[in-house]
């Protein structure tokens, strides 16, 4: 009898599986890791986000903070003590070798933060990548204590008040992991599995990752906000935008990131497809390694800035979808200093600067470009070729170099690329997320996200002050000044703020593009309109 029931159950499940809704998302590249604590790219974050929740989160499509795993919180008057009340009834995913026995509680929150913050934490060393984002955000110094108040409350004390702290907690790297899972793995002697097989509280359960092929997820039946309408979510890793488009057209995927801007019109015209666009909250830039000759000379950096025909790049590679950049932050972000006069495109002046800097005979160097499409740079290689052609005019003979996205990122963060194309999409809507994370001295450490490895005391002072400045006006003023320093010191050639495109099949419902470059699959469904 019991067996019969079981069989019937199997039949039911089988029938269910047969009608499974699978959403395939053609993503641009391999995630550098599956644990959001270890990633710094939107590719990695996007792959991790379906599985996790944070204490607080950005409401979709905005930078407004709302409650997530923390039901509520209080901030002390001095702005240094945060107490979070945790949501009850939140369940963690099961894994092949783990079945959660309890609901999420303060231990999990403390574990997730302590692992990154406390270098003596048993799980701190259990990873090769380190916790770059946590560090880049200066959280190591900012946080003074992380304590469990009771099962349902956690207190975080800061060394100083920090305006964007809640926003930082909403960022993917501050996702809440299961302490119970970690303990189980540690007891079994395979703690590294914590990062290899993620267990979170998010809407989707991890179901496998094949490098260069797929990341697979299944809907989590026990998700605290309710089960998702789709049953299976797959990231189909497809670096080439032309191939992504082919797949989208074939119905092999229902969503594709970053179509070639040149194809945007064709997608918009296809009756089976929908073209989504979002003014990019990003910056694409050419990073000049300030710690490597000849780019340690500001004149060379300025010469490079003047040599490059940014307009042509925007016109040809971005197909006009975006604006030429002059500052490190997008013009839509508050504190953007529009008074900055950009460097003119003047090869002659650039040549003179080169001669002045002692490089009359030109130089030989490397220009690294990313192997994958990025929202801020649809085609790194072509941008690199265009730049190389321009630089050739001023005697800089750049060898074009690239490698795998993961290695590329590591190379840049380690500071071993003299010139490199890179970019950034704001993660939390705060200017600090650009100014400090990308250009601050903390991030200039090896492995930090400041790939120009530029550390300017005046700039750092301004940005640090801006963080603790009580009012937005004051912060804005400080950031405007910082932008002047950035312009003068020219650690980057800011190239463009792109418009981000996304192709979708008409059947996809409930998907919204996000200003912060996140792809959020919660609530996404597939209707039956897809003809293919």
């Amino acid at each position: 009898m019991r067996r019969t029931i079981l069989t019937v159950l199997l039949l039911v499940l089988g029938a269910h599986a047969a009608a499974a809704k699978t959403l395939v998302f053609c993503s641009e590249g391999n995630p550098e890791a599956l644990n959001p604590q270890l990633v710094t790219t939107t590719t990695g974050m996007n792959a991790a986000m379906p599985m996790f929740n944070n204490l607080v989160e950005f409401a979709p499509g905005s930078t407004e903070i709302r409650a997530a795993l923390a039901e509520s919180w209080t901030i002390s008057d001095d702005g240094r003590t945060y107490v979070f009340q945790l949501r009850p009834g939140v369940r963690f995913h099961p894994a092949p070798d783990f079945t959660p026995t309890r609901e999420m509680n303060a231990d999990d929150v403390v574990f997730s933060l302590m692992r990154q913050w406390d270098e003596s934490h048993p799980f701190h060393k259990v990873t090769v990548g380190g916790f770059d984002y946590f560090k880049d955000m200066g959280l190591l110094e900012l946080i003074e204590a992380i304590e469990k108040v009771d099962e349902r409350a956690v207190r975080i004390r800061l060394a100083r008040p920090e305006a964007p702290f809640l926003a930082n907690l909403a960022m993917p790297f501050n996702a809440i992991l299961s302490a119970e899972y970690a303990a189980t793995l540690a007891a079994r002697g395979e703690p590294e599995r914590l990062d290899a097989w993620p267990v979170g509280t998010g809407p989707f359960v991890f179901d496998g990752y094949q490098k260069d092929v797929t990341v697979r997820y299944r809907a989590f039946d026990g998700y605290w906000r309710g089960r998702q309408p789709i049953d299976t979510l797959v990231f189909s890793i497809t670096p080439n935008p032309a191939v992504r488009l082919i797949k989208l057209k074939a119905g092999e995927c229902q969503l594709m990131v970053f179509p070639d801007p040149a194809d945007a019109a064709a997608i918009a015209a296809d009756p089976a497809l929908v073209l989504m666009r979002q003014e990019g909250f990003n910056i694409g830039y050419l990073s000049l390694n300030t710690r490597m000759a000849p780019f340690d000379d500001v004149r060379v950096r300025r010469a490079v800035n003047m040599a490059i025909d940014k307009g042509l790049i925007l016109e040809t590679v971005y197909a006009g979808a975006g604006v030429v950049a002059k500052n490190p932050i997008p013009p839509t972000l508050w504190s953007y200093n529009d008074d900055i006069e950009p460097y003119p495109h003047d090869a002659e002046a650039a040549r003179r600067l080169m001669v002045e800097a002692g490089y009359a005979n030109g130089i030989d160097t490397e220009l690294w470009y990313m192997p994958v499409s990025r929202p801020y740079n649809p085609n790194g290689k072509r941008v690199a070729e265009l730049i190389a052609a321009d630089l050739a005019m001023i005697g800089i003979r750049a060898e074009l170099r690239t490698e795998g996205w993961q290695e590329y990122r590591i190379r840049l963060q380690s500071g071993s690329a003299p010139m490199a194309l890179f970019g950034w999409t704001g993660d939390n809507g705060d200017p600090d997320n650009f100014f400090d994370v990308l250009l601050g001295c903390t991030a200039a450490r090896p492995g930090g996200n400041n790939v120009a490895k530029w550390c300017d005391r005046d700039y750092e002072a301004l940005v640090s002050r801006a963080k603790v400045a009580p009012s937005r006006a004051e912060r804005e003023e400080l950031y405007r000044k910082a932008q002047v320093i950035f312009h003068d010191e020219a650690p980057w050639v800011p190239l463009a703020h792109s418009v981000v495109f996304l192709g979708a099949r008409k059947a996809v419902t409930g998907f919204k593009m996000d200003a912060l470059g996140r792809n959020i699959f919660e609530g996404v469904d597939l209707s039956d309109v897809d003809s293919r």
Partner: protein, 811 residues
Amino acid sequence: MKASPGDGAPHGPSGRGRRRGRRGMRIGYKIFLVGGFPIAIAAAIAVAAVMLLGEADRARSGAILAGAIHRNVLTAVTERDRYVDSLPGERDMHSARFAVPTERAEKDLATLRDIASDGDDAAAIGEARQALVHYVMSMGQLETVTQQNDMLIAEMAGRASRLIELTDEARQRQHDSNADIVAALSQRDRQVRDARDLVEAGYALRSALSAAGVQAIAVLAGSEAARGEAGDGLNGSLRRLRYAVAGLSSVLRVQGKGEAADELEAMAAGFGDRLMALADPSSTPLDALRAGEPGGDVEQALTQWAERLLKVYTTQYRALHDEMAELLTYSVKAHETEQATQNIAIAVLKLGDAAAGAFKSRSPEASAAVLDESRAVADAIVGLPISPLIQTDMIDAFERWREGLSTTTEGLRQQNALIAGMDAAAERMTAAARTLDQRFTESAEAIGRSIRTVLILGAAIGLVFGAGTAAIVARSIVSPLKRLQLGMLDLAGDPHRGRIEGSWKRDELGDMARATNVFVGEILRREHALRRSKDRADQALAELRRTQAELIQAEKLASLGQLVAGVAHEINTPLGIALTTSTVLDQEVSTFRQEASSGRLARASFDRFTARMEEGSRLLLANLRRAADLVHAFKQVAADQASGERRSFELSRWLEELLTSLGPMLRKGGHEVVAECPEGLEVETYPGALAQVLTNLVTNAITHGYGPGERGTITIRVRPLDGTTLRIVFADDGRGIPAENRRRVFDPFFTTGRGGGSTGLGLHIVYNLVTSTLNGRLDLESEPGHGTRFTIDLPLRVAEAVAEPAMEEIA
């Protein structure tokens, strides 16, 4: 009539006989002895035989049952095999068929257990029963397991076909996608060609530009003499530049970049003009030097323009190449994916086949092997670049398929274990059934032998004993019997002769002798008494006959009296009238005599007297005649009644006369008599008897048929039935005769009107007269409330002699 032993002593044969008689056994005992021996022996044999036969029957039926059980077990095994081997849809049928023989076997075993007497049998039966219970229970389990397996297998087939479906879907999508790839590739190809054309034309322009620049410098730097030559060279460069511009311009225009072509042509024209001026021999180099560099701004702009063009299109060219490479790679990959998917589909089909084979042969080992093999396919589904759209579905479907296979494998093991267990149980059962069959058969045979022995021995003993005893007893009975016979014959010859000897004996012969003596005495006594009572009875009978005759005579006389009374009444009227008339005539005569004597006789008076006389005599005549007629009629009737003679007469007239004489009786009650009789019907019979019959019927009808004050109609219908018979139907419409009385109305002295003075002889006389005197028949029909109907059939001619004895008897 006392019999003492002393009386018989002189007749006794001898003292020895007496002694022997006294000691002798009673015949009853002897006969009992004779019959008893064989009967007792037969009974004993019968009892033994019945018991043994019962035993034999029991054993035989036990053997039959054991045989049936054996057959049923074999049938059950066959059905079980069929059940296992048949298609899932047909299993139920075999399952139902399996139940029949097992139930029978169970019932038979239960019966057999009741039959079995022997402990060994009981043990064997117990063993078989246990095995059967186990067998049936195992069958239930087998059915459950098989059903589950069937279900799983069906489900697995569903999953496998789902997998195939998924791969087909993927292939279809890939085929559709191939067209897109081709379109994308050819678009890229066109773009590559365009870019290449532009790049080539751009390079041509750039090299023409730099050549022209070099020539221009040569012109400026050259001596007066050399200028002409250099001018020629410059002209050549100019031409080359124009070609290059024209070439690029046309490429641009072909590619729809007319604006750029215009721009190019404008710039090229300005530059050309500058160079033409230089080439002009009339101009001086100083003019040119004043103007600065040979090409000036125009040349720089043109060069930059060309550089920019080259930058854009070389990079585009490369980018397109990369894209094409990527697309081709993808196309190859997609093909590989499709191939991989198809391979998986094929692998799944093969696995499905292998699994089906394993299920069919019910080999858990083969099934487990398939499960092992399938792991590779499962890994392939996870590891191969299958379309992500279906990969998860495929993984799930295949995982479920494998789970199904694993469960089914276990199910097969269970099934096989059950089948093996069942086979063992069946073996035990058939063995037990065989043993029982054998044992029961042997037992039956042994009992049969016992019966034969018992019968033969018993019969022999019975025969010997019976015969011996019968001989002895027969002799001891027959000789005294003969003596008794002789004695009795003597006595029969003369009952008064005396007594039979041997009455002293104590046995039945003695009893018989004594009884005969008593009997003879009794006969003598009875004979005497009988004779006396016969005499008395004869006297009584004579008296009785007399009385009856008297009564009947009285009755006849009574009816005659009635007749007389009626006739007297009838006669009274005419006689009265005659008397009155004669009285009146007498007065008239005396009156006339006076007148005549007085002489005062007037004519008128004479006439009146005459008239009166005439009238008177006429009246007298008429009435007297009538009286005479009546007397005649009466005389005839009375004569008939009285004489009882037979004569011939006309019936209707006779009937009329009779009814006339009955008239007063009828009129008294106001009853009507309707008589129908054909005229001229001559009969020769006893009119007196007939009259008496009808008179009695009428009297009976009037007396008993109607209540006081009731008036009825009596119908008498006479008709000849044929030439010899006459039918008289006498019917009244009175109250009828109740059924219980109907049979008795003809009995003498039966009457319902005893109180009214009825004798109860009327209808008895009717009956006797009709059946005896008139030699006819009489039927009575009556319904209470619907009258009574007598049907009398009479011969038209009655023979003389017939009636007399009866009449005499009555008389």
